[in-house]
Symmetry: C2
């Protein structure tokens, strides 16, 4: 809580004017053309926002399919596939297109994600030329629809424990796919209830009595509109949102597919029933396969960030139209955005949205480089997977929180469906769960940090993790994160000596980065020590982990927030001097200081923040809000959300 | 972040077994019979949860009306009306009935609130015998439906600035009701789009050219199903939720009503056009009128708390069925509720729900006493209004946050409509806005504290407030809240001397109360000082207020949390020794310590928490979670949510 009035303005500070087109160009980056193509398509199909409300579920599902196929014809959805199959051959462009699509109806977005990202991505990444030739051209055009049948009723996060089995029958050279129990039915599968003809089914492969772990198979589930023999499909029914996507359950009763149905890039079964894989370790093999699907996480994270932009654009524009209560004048009521509290509610969210946008740009570029073969080694892949998991978790939680705050900031008007929040809120709600539960993802991130990506990253077996950390690496981690080393690393950033945390200016990005870096490393070291101590005390490793789990998640969060700030600082530093640089610096400072403020208890507890300085940070956050007030509308305009997607005629005018 | 493993158990601590029926009886209190009647009705009409999803909006609105009228016939909805008009003559019972109804479909709840609370309440509280005789019996039975036309498109929170005008025409002895601009149309009015025959319309009364402020009039808007001449009604259309309630907009074009249409308990116009009122001050008159409608806020707060119970009951029961990942065993996956992080996510919310339940019990009892004439003086009324505003704000935010956390804790299954969260989330979302925007309500609370309820409480004119505080009372407030006095008051509670905050046991309720009391008074004094300093510096009072606004809201929140803790401590202390007392004490400790933990930065900044003690509190929160783990299911069972209302067949089993 700030206890002072306004601090004096910094000497030399001049309130910036935002150059909106230039800022949009900066945000859109190298994929500006692709993003504009999607914006045009969104405007063209803007009717879908009404149809989402007015149509029956059945009709809306058909309509969404139609729009997706028509958008596919513009090339928008196939950017990530090789050109010889009708794609655009540019993975970065495919991410940019998907992110931008999140300005519109999210059923369309998710249907695109299912068809081209999950189903198409599995065929592309896990299959070989045989599968590409057979399926890619038709799926890129939307002629063949497919689904991605991984999750089961009993297993979502723990994919290694799936119950569906695929047994090799050497006699017929077929795999026999079987749902072994009710909890092994595939569930929540997008495209399954109505449209998919093919399914990529994840199942435990059994060859000659041996279990080889989870593999993916292409299984026809519908032919000419009828469900195939041995397959049973049930509609998941109405959902909180995304009702334009036909989610369903699938059971397999001894369904036979040819030997070539195995997506065999990483493992194959010979006609004679010999299991072969270039990757010897089964765990490593499994996580290598899964790792190729990381694009889905990158996409969902970006979509969450862009959904937040829509909400913030509406709420900010409303707040410069809506007046309520006389405050500074006896005769005219005050604009909502001139209230300090309203600024406090919206501006840190705008700042965080910008920060996440630039962090997303980094992870999308890394994804492009890894999957285009520009830089692709084991360690880089693990780092990409970690960054994708972290950005997805923070981006989607940010969406949930931001959309809620913006709805409340628009009062009763925000509750009317025409004003957009109803769909935004209901449709985006599941983003925190699908493509990886956020709490599980942050534990993945922490594990990568603790083990320095030494083991297969996705393998979130807590027992294994605890054992690994306590037996093998803990000395290294503790050494690496010792307070001494920690100070050394911080000193690299801020050469101010041991009092760096007291002497640096609050608005010095190196100070802000040093704070977030200190927090991350200190938390990580704490986790390692607590795990080790628990094991030394002969506690059950699972129990140890359970006790430390909130600390684990906090450390991961600290890591990702540091990456996000780095991305924002790098981007801002790289800009030429000018008003847009000043404006972005205000936002970057606000993101950094409001992030430190939110965790100021931790910084005080760990000696990095005095009471004085903590209060000064709160005051500075308020100062920054007042500086951002005059440029708030240009800052949300720069996101270039098509007006048709903002809708809300009475709110944004 | 806790840095230690488990603390040793307290000596003498024995894990309690919860006696569920006894705990339910305690929670249900003196209105157990009424609550059970509602539970029975909810189970009888449980089909409504399906109908909400399956029916068209038009059909569902009719169905909700039908259910409401049928429930009215059981006496459930008329508890608060005098017996001579078919009511139950017991205001406390009417609150209990309404709260319990929140276990079910919330369109039914809100339709009941509109008809019997808002419309019926206005007739009862603002009208005189003439109006009671004319309307009460028919509205209590549901034969006549009405609406409460206060909010306009342009004014929600600032009711004093409404634009609708009612001009007295002496010649015809009629009032002429006119919508003076587009922004003065009535908006979001429940029951308006379809069902209401009558409206209680709030309008600026003009008599003989003089403006007398906002008053309420009974205006027929439909006769035999047709909209009355001069009235125009538009449907608000689809909303995020509550689509069984027909919200609409109303315009009045010179609609004439007889002089007796004025609800004249607090003011009247003689046939000759003389304005008369027993309350001389117009502001005071207005807020006295509004104050009689406080019951709506008490009801919504209680409804929010009970909606949170439904979500927590589902998520807790799911977490003792769902397993994911091997953790403590190599062969069996771990129950979600055995993960420390999952306990951290759910148990503080369960504790806060209990705390709010008992705080709600206090405010409902005060309401009963005031409106039954048992204790009814100005100061008591103002305190009731403040408590109602605060409990409503905290109860409804708690609902939003809890339902979201519980949905996420149920993963993908939580997203299916059949599993209840879709409706709970969408329907309850507006609770934070209607019956008073929560941020505005907390400012009302703060104003009451700063002015010691000296002025009319609801009058949230910031200019007036700043002037009042700075000119009249600031010395008093600052004196009253001086650190010296503050310590004195804390010492009354904790006679441990000046080191009370370091020496008391964390689990001593007096310590917990002293902490919350210190925070409240210190924040309040800070607000007063900052206001005074701003004015002394010749700043515009509105600007001063804007700068201090987040501090104002924080002070109000601190006040309400203190009241909530007091209610919980009082309830727990009053129990006979036994397992249920032990169980409630665990929850009360968890509520208190997780509340302090959430604001531990503030306590450190203000010298009331050392780093050591702050960390100890986090450890204790984790300890308490582990103690609550074995009794978590009985604790949510004690809320006695009818199983039909939990729905979620695959989640709760």
């Amino acid at each position: 809580m700030a206890t002072n009035m306004a601090a004096p303005p910094q000497p030399g500070y001049v309130q910036p004017d935002v150059d909106v087109p230039a800022l949009t160009a900066l945000l859109d980056g190298k994929y500006a053309d692709v993003r504009d193509l999607v914006r045009t398509n969104l405007a063209k199909y803007s009717q879908i926002l009404d149809e989402a409300e007015e149509m029956s579920i059945d009709d809306f599902r058909e309509r969404v399919r139609e729009v997706v196929v028509e958008m596919a014809a513009t090339g928008q959805t196939g950017m990530g596939f090789p050109e010889e199959y009708g794609g655009g051959g540019d993975i970065g462009a495919s991410i940019a297109a998907f992110e931008t699509l999140a300005y519109g109806d999210l059923s369309v977005l998710v249907k695109v994600g299912v068809q081209f990202g999950l189903f198409g991505g599995a065929i592309l990444q896990l299959g070989s030329k045989h599968h590409h030739d057979a399926y890619l051209a038709d799926l890129v055009s939307g002629k063949v629809m497919g689904c991605f049948a991984m999750t089961e009723t009993g297993h979502g996060s723990n994919v290694q424990a799936l119950g569906t089995v695929a047994t090799y029958d050497q006699e017929t050279q077929e795999f026999v796919i079987t749902t072994t129990s009710e909890s092994a039915r595939k569930d929540y599968i997008g495209n399954a209830a109505k449209h998919a003809e093919l399914a990529v089914v994840f199942a435990q492969l059994e060859v000659g009595g041996a279990s080889e772990g989870v593999h993916a198979f292409v299984v026809p589930i519908r032919e000419n509109g009828s469900v195939c023999p041995g397959v049973r499909i049930e509609d998941d029914g109405r959902k909180m949102g995304l009702n334009g996507v036909d989610n369903g359950r699938i059971w397999f009763d001894g369904v036979r597919v040819p030997r070539t149905a195995l997506l065999n890039r990483f493992a194959d079964v010979t006609p004679e029933g010999v299991y072969e894989s270039p990757i010897e370790n089964p765990n490593r093999r499994f996580f290598t396969m899964l790792g190729t699907l990381v694009q889905g996480r990158v996409c969902v994270g970006g979509a969450g960030i862009n959904a937040a932009k829509v909400a913030l654009a509406i709420a900010t524009k409303y707040a410069v139209r809506r007046r309520q209560f006389e405050a500074t004048s006896d005769t005219e009521e005050e604009l909502l955005l001139d209230y300090g509290l309203h600024q406090r509610r919206l501006f840190p969210l705008i700042a965080r949205t910008y920060a996440l946008h630039f962090a997303q740009e980094v992870v999308a570029a890394q994804l492009h480089d890894v999957f285009s073969g520009i830089s692709d080694d084991e360690h880089t892949r693990r780092e990409l997977e970690s960054r994708a998991a972290g950005t997805k978790a923070l981006g989607t939680w940010h969406a949930t929180r931001t959309i809620q705050e913006c709805r409340e900031a628009c009062g009763g008007a925000g509750y009317l469906a025409v004003n957009r929040f109803a769909a935004l809120k209901a449709d985006s709600d599941i983003f925190t769960t699908f493509e990886g539960d956020n709490h599980v993802l942050l534990q993945l991130v922490a594990k990568g940090l603790l083990t320095d990506y030494a083991s297969e990253f996705e393998d979130l077996d807590q027992l294994g993790m605890v054992r690994f950390v306590t037996n093998l690496a803990v000395e290294t981690v503790i050494e690496k994160t010792s307070v001494h080393k920690l100070f050394e690393r911080v000193r690299d950033l801020l050469p101010g000596g041991d009092d760096w945390d007291q002497e640096a200016g609050l608005l010095d990005p190196d100070y802000q980065l040093a704070m977030l870096r200190f927090r991350e490393e200190h938390m990580l070291a704490g986790v390692a020590r607590r795990l080790k101590r628990g094991i030394d005390q002969k506690m059950n490793p699972g129990e140890v982990f359970s006790h430390v789990q909130d600390h684990v998640v906090a450390a991961a969060n600290a890591h990702v927030e540091r990456l996000v700030l780095e991305a924002f600082v790098d981007k801002t530093r790289g800009l030429p001097a000018g008003d847009n640089k000043v404006a972005l610096s205000l936002l970057c400072d606000l993101f950094a200081l409001s992030t430190i403020e939110a965790d100021r208890a931790w910084f005080m507890e760990h000696g990095r923040l005095t009471v004085q300085r903590s209060k000064a940070i709160s005051r500075e956050v308020n100062n920054l809000c007042r500086k951002i007030r005059p440029i708030a509308v240009p800052l949300v305009d720069a996101w270039a959300v098509p007006p048709e997607m903002l809708r809300s005629p009475d709110l944004v005018g």
